[in-house]
């Protein structure tokens, strides 16, 4: 453990510090957006967006490697695919409730498959698992700046529109009667989540983004009194899981992203079990 802290403050090894900063910055997104995704019950939609992103990454890598679009960053492809899938999923979810599940699963699967196909045809070796599971130790200063910018945008949106977000999440029909453009709010939430997914996937990977968008918020939800306290609690849990995962992953030589998610999952399951036992005891004593 002491070795970890020595490296953390070592001026020659910036990537551990960057990883910790990434943990702090991503916690804000995981906490706030995760709470909204959880209370709006759109984790499945966010999951489809996060997996469809692989299609954009694969396409960008292919276009860049074959010099069709030289130096095209995978992140550009990821953002384009994330936003397209967010809008498509959002519109389907709003307009075609009967087919929603099928279309969402199709976007999920097609997006990933497009990614794998383009990566297979990209000259040189491209490992899809590095995008699926991420690597926090490869976070660059540019990634940190982008994360910080998105943090500020999300914090400003939540600060300004908290009552509207709370109302549309709690009772969409009532919010619409009060004149709130609920469909627009829904599409904005999906789009911001999509952009966040792209930035966050480099931290914990595509597969695990969705776990971090739901587990810290779900854990915080057991004790939260309102949506705001759920957001704050989920942000703190996210940071604890990220920092804990980083320390454990580094100390035990394990993939940090996977350790973070296992840690978050174990804590969530402990809370869920404790709540169930408490409920059962209360029911027994009242009978």
């Amino acid at each position: 453990m002491s070795g970890f802290f020595e490296i953390l403050f070592s001026p020659d090894i910036p990537f551990i510090r960057n990883a910790l900063f990434a943990g702090i910055l991503s916690s804000v997104l995981f906490g706030i957006l995760g709470s909204v995704v959880t209370v709006k019950r759109i984790a499945g939609l966010a999951g489809a967006i996060s997996h469809a992103v692989l299609g954009g990454i694969g396409l960008a890598l292919y276009l860049s490697a074959t010099k069709i679009v030289p130096n095209l960053s995978p992140m550009v492809g990821a953002i384009v695919f994330a936003l397209l899938s967010a809008i498509l999923i959002g519109v389907v979810s709003l307009k075609s409730k009967q087919r929603e599940d099928t279309v969402i699963q199709a976007i999920w699967a097609i997006g990933m498959s497009i990614g794998v196909l383009f990566m297979a045809k990209t000259p040189g070796y491209t490992d899809p698992s590095s995008y699926l599971f991420g690597n926090i130790l490869l976070i660059s200063s540019r990634d940190l700046i982008l994360l910080a910018i998105l943090d500020v945008v999300v914090l400003l949106l939540v600060w300004r529109y908290y009552p509207q977000i709370e109302a549309t999440s709690f009772d969409e029909e009532f919010a619409a009667v009060r004149g709130i453009p609920t469909q627009l709010v829904f599409l904005i939430i999906l789009s911001v989540t999509a952009v966040a997914v792209v930035l966050l996937q480099s931290f914990v990977g595509i597969v695990m983004v969705i776990a971090m968008l739901t587990l810290p918020a779900g854990t915080a939800g057991y004790k939260a009194r309102n949506l705001a306290s759920m957001m704050i609690g989920a942000t703190l849990y996210s940071f604890l899981f990220s920092a804990g995962g980083l320390v454990l992953g580094w100390s035990l030589d394990l993939p940090v992203g996977a350790v973070v998610v296992v840690l978050a999952g174990l804590v969530f399951l402990s809370f869920a079990t404790a709540t169930l036992i408490k409920k059962k005891r209360r029911n027994l004593s009242s009978n």
């Binding site: 209370v39 019950r41 009552p163 509207q164 709370e166 109302a167 999440s169 709690f170 009772d171 029909e173 009532f174 919010a175 619409a176 009667v177 009060r178 004149g179 709130i180 453009p181 939800g221 939260a224 009194r225 309102n226 949506l227 306290s229 759920m230």
Partner: protein, 257 residues
């Protein structure tokens, strides 16, 4: 003599989903301060009618006027109490926060203290001021419905619309809800939408029924029926055998001073 203004007016309104005609030639109106029941069996188009009144759907034919203006423009004057079957018990929120939601709109943000004071006032109206900070999920079904009534009242609406207000409600909560509505009657227009086609509250002035499909027409229409008091009960019986033209009423009458 001052005529009591019309609160809601449907003129020859028709509405259809892509493959199904729901309403056809609906014409009725009622005035401000009236206590109205709109009844119809499940699947008869009550929810569609409600969505038209709330501006959540638009009619393909005919006009709907709310307080003399368009539905979208006048919608903020409505207090809406949904049946709320889709309530998520894991949503973390307190009673007062639910009520404060009644003042939310697209742009305007009042001061939090002002909103809180108005919310407490609304909770007093439904006699739930003791539960201000209680988690909403810990309330009984009846108490939750009364909190939703407070949420509708907090914006001081001129018209209150309640969708199946007593569904799954215990007797005590039902009694208290009608006490609240009785206090509001006269000053606030009240529209109750319910599937019980036989009886309505004794507070009801007039009843409109979504009638069965008439042969030759694509959808259902709305018909006004007579009401008669049930002896020794706080209910009125709907006289389905006595039909009144849907657009008929005893108004104009004098505004209450």
């Amino acid at each position: 003599m001052t005529e009591v203004p019309v609160a809601l007016q449907f003129k020859d309104v028709s509405f259809a989903y892509p493959s199904l005609q729901i309403l056809d030639g609906v014409t009725f109106h009622f005035h401000q301060g009236e206590f109205i029941a709109l009844v119809g069996p499940n699947g008869s188009g009550k929810t569609t009618l409600l969505k038209l009144i709330l501006g959540l759907e638009e009619a393909q034919r005919g006009t709907i006027q709310l307080m003399g203006g368009s539905v979208k423009a006048m919608r903020p004057t409505i207090g809406y109490v949904p049946q709320h079957a889709t309530y998520d018990p894991s949503f973390p929120i307190s009673v007062i926060e639910v009520v404060m939601m009644g003042l939310v709109d697209a742009k305007r943000r009042l001061k939090k203290q002002e909103i809180r004071a108005m919310a407490i006032e609304a909770l007093k109206q439904v006699e739930l001021e003791d539960l201000v900070n209680r988690p909403y999920s810990q309330l009984s079904g009846g108490q939750r419905r009364r909190v939703l009534v407070a949420r509708a009242l907090v914006a001081r609406p001129t018209m209150l619309i309640l969708d199946e207000p007593t569904a799954n409600m215990d007797q005590e909560s039902e009694r208290r809800l009608y006490q609240t509505l009785e206090r509001l009657k006269g000053n606030t227009t009240i529209l109750i939408v319910t599937h019980d086609t036989r009886f309505v509250s004794d507070l009801t002035d007039r009843v409109f029924c979504i009638d069965p499909i008439v042969e030759g027409s694509g959808g259902r229409t709305v018909v006004q029926h007579a009401l008669e008091m049930v002896e020794g009960d706080f209910q009125k019986r709907v006289r389905h055998d006595v039909e009144i033209p849907a657009d008929y009423c005893a108004y104009p009458r004098e505004m209450p001073s």
